[in-house]
Symmetry: C2
């Protein structure tokens, strides 16, 4: 391959060699089911994921046309483990436990993924059980109410974690009313109100053949995988002969975001203040995506990064401090996190803002750029040793990007990033409206002062 | 090899093939430095660890003979990243960041480990930097005070995490005055009081050639490793020609523990109660170690386990619920965790106790035993795909067990465990004094009731 390969929805078969001799193959079945595999030579384990492009952002307030309510995507994810027409919840659990496999699921803002990591010989079992869960879950009413209790405890656990709370508030503060700003799991009110019928409708509407993407990486033979999957889905009642086109990829133009909330304070009688400061970022398909990776590496990833050096190494103000840049189809964020003493919150927020502004005004050095390249190359190479990372990469390629770029291509794009690109992106970011979130025993006056300075700084930059 | 190989301190060279064609080699240098490597065919990455058998349990109250104070082992661990005679803290950070390596350290109750995971070509760099940190750290007074602030924030972060707090209180409740009962990081009072001189003495006394164990797994050539390590340690001032025997392994007879604290309550205005219920367990070298692994798998590990089924699946009382069995040289614990609603804490604690008693009274089934074997085999095989797991296994073998057992041997031992063994161990555990820890907005009366019932149950069992 020459580095990047398009994944057209209508193309039935694709096959190419990726960096490191991994072999990638993709089949689109007549029913619209998509199957992608990456065979990694020498691997003895394998990770399989069943994906749908439905996440919390797709939930609507309950009405006749949109019966799913906030948190119901995550609720449904839990229920898929609770029994099918041919397996009890315990049967499902035993299938994976008996072979020491990892199996779990993840509800995100724009997708849901059910996955398992097993030894090579157990892949057919994993495909069979995941296919059964995906096609034939019962959503039994008794299990539904039991699981409501479990989910309420999961929400309570997250609610007791101040960093989790800060993260949810940060999305809300930066993205406002945009559906990506909502928490993934709903809240206790929506979970208590959720009905089995609404979740059932959500399931029937979004778990069809044309919605399903199966990605597998590691010790996998593509033809055997397609045969096993086809047999399993058919056995569980799907007619894969019915012609249907795969679901169109999500494609929205970048959202027009309302100006964010400048300051959000959640008072908690705890020791640290969990601070998040940030701005709207770039979307997942933005051409500056590689530049963002480089900026984030230089600015706030790793012990040599500017944020770590300024906040932790030189001043000892925090233990955890970093930046991050999540990106979605029509919005993104750039955020900086630190956990610090309440009396230092204003100082730390000011330092974060000043450091980003320094990049915007004075750029980064050639040395920093070179190091960021090395860091991203090495970290990616290490990450790709895990079949889970490769499985996820295939999922993102198919669901979001419509293109598979291997490691060589990703690094080539990184190598094209210039110091000017990094500075320009930082300048763009500091020109956007900042949102500050503080969870803890805050000194609100000091935070207001910091917010004022940050707002003033924005005008100067 | 025939499965398990002794690692006598006095034996200069050892070499054998372990399960899966990994080649294990061990060299004891004249100075007492020990080097163990496990070459994994086909691996492209490598993890290296520098270990000493010094942990928080070895700290003494400050006096002339024992200048180190509580938390100073962890304090020292932080300081090793803060600069040497030839490298600044930033230099050290850059070395690993520039190649995208992971580098970090871990202070435990009985050891400290500095480690790095890198691509194969970067191993000589990792060895050089870790050797420099280990031999030549400055413990600069200015850096010392900066790092004090970082550590205080680390303690605050842990103090804000109710599950962390519950875990520390649980060790205290079960182990009482035993040194293993103390928290690893000290507390804000001991950290504020720590002096550079005391930590320096701790460093000089415990980071000598005869203390050092270097373990490496993945893409490693043993002879080149020994040559690189010898050169690096010599370059940084160590005389490896001075004859010294490796430090004796820790060997204590199982501790006589005072009866634990029946109930510890930490009031927090949060949503969940973090519950831990448990008893003293077995030591790391106990011959029932494999039986404990099987019991823990059946009882509280995985979605099909009894605890998960009873507490979460059937009753929806918790999201996180599991058991665990940490083991040390002269003491161990068996614990059960759940995060639940305050109103359910008494019920959940009772269920935990009842379920363990059920195993003690009625045993487990052949099916459960078979599944546990499969679970442990599969999970171990998957875990050993990571070079970090193998690096750690080598460290534990050398520091704690004095024996290397490969996967085949570990599984052989598991296969010898009978349902009677499991029942006998559970019966032994339920006969021990239970400690209950609750962190959250607790209903103390309900918890006292649960404790009374648990105490009554103990007499009946």
């Amino acid at each position: 391959m020459n580095g990047a390969v398009d994944l057209p929805l209508g193309q039935a078969e694709l096959s190419f060699t990726a960096a490191g001799d991994a072999r990638v193959r993709r089949s689109v079945l007549p029913s619209g089911v998509r199957v992608l595999s990456e065979h990694v030579p020498g691997s003895r384990s394998v990770t399989v994921g069943f994906w749908v492009a439905v996440g919390s952002r797709d939930e609507q307030h309950a009405d006749a046309a949109h019966p799913a309510t906030y948190g119901s995507t995550h609720f449904l994810e839990h229920l898929l483990f609770k029994g099918t027409t041919s397996r009890t919840a315990l049967d499902i659990a035993i299938s994976f436990d008996a072979v020491g496999g990892e199996h779990n699921a993840l509800t995100a803002k724009e997708y849901t993924c059910y996955y398992a990591k097993v030894q090579d010989r157990d892949l057919p079992m994993a495909v069979e059980v995941l296919a059964d869960m995906f096609t034939s879950s019962l959503l039994d009413p008794v299990e539904f109410d039991n699981e409501r209790g479990v989910i309420l405890e999961e929400l309570s656990m997250a609610g007791d974690d101040p960093a989790d709370v800060a993260n949810e508030k940060f999305f809300e503060a930066v993205l406002g009313e945009h559906p990506l700003g909502r928490p993934i799991g709903g809240d206790p009110v929506t979970i208590r109100a959720a009905t089995r019928n609404a979740v059932w409708e959500h399931y029937r509407a979004n778990y069809r053949p044309q919605d399903l993407v199966v990605t597998v990486a590691g010790a996998v033979d593509h033809d055997a995988l397609v045969a096993d999957l086809t047999a399993a889905l058919t056995r569980h009642g799907w007619d894969l002969g019915v012609e249907a086109a795969p679901l169109d990829r999500r494609s929205e133009s970048p959202a027009m975001l309302a100006s964010g909330t400048p300051l959000t304070v959640v008072e908690r009688p705890i020791e640290q203040v969990n601070l998040l400061l940030g701005v709207p970022g770039i979307v997942a398909t933005d051409e500056r995506r590689s530049t963002m990776s480089v900026l984030n590496a230089i600015f706030g990833s790793g012990m040599s990064s500017r944020l770590f050096q300024q906040v932790r190494e030189r001043r000892g103000l925090a233990y955890a401090v970093y930046s991050f840049a999540p990106a979605y189809s029509d919005a993104g964020l750039f955020g900086m996190y630190a956990g610090c003493a309440p009396s230092k919150a204003g100082t730390v927020a000011g330092l974060m803002r000043t450091e980003l502004e320094r990049v915007a005004e004075h750029g980064v050095t050639d040395d920093e750029l070179r190091r960021a390249s090395g860091q991203l190359a090495g970290a990616s190479a290490l990450a790709l040793e895990d079949s889970d990372t490769r499985m996820s990469r295939l999922g993102r390629a198919e669901l979001t990007l419509g293109e598979f770029a291997d490691l060589d291509e990703a690094l080539r794009r990184i190598s094209l990033v210039t110091v000017d690109d990094v500075q320009a992106l930082a300048a763009d970011l500091v020109s956007r409206p900042f949102s500050l979130v503080a969870v803890g025993a805050t000194d609100e006056a000091a935070l207001h002062g910091a917010v004022d300075e940050i707002a003033a700084g924005t005008d100067v930059a």
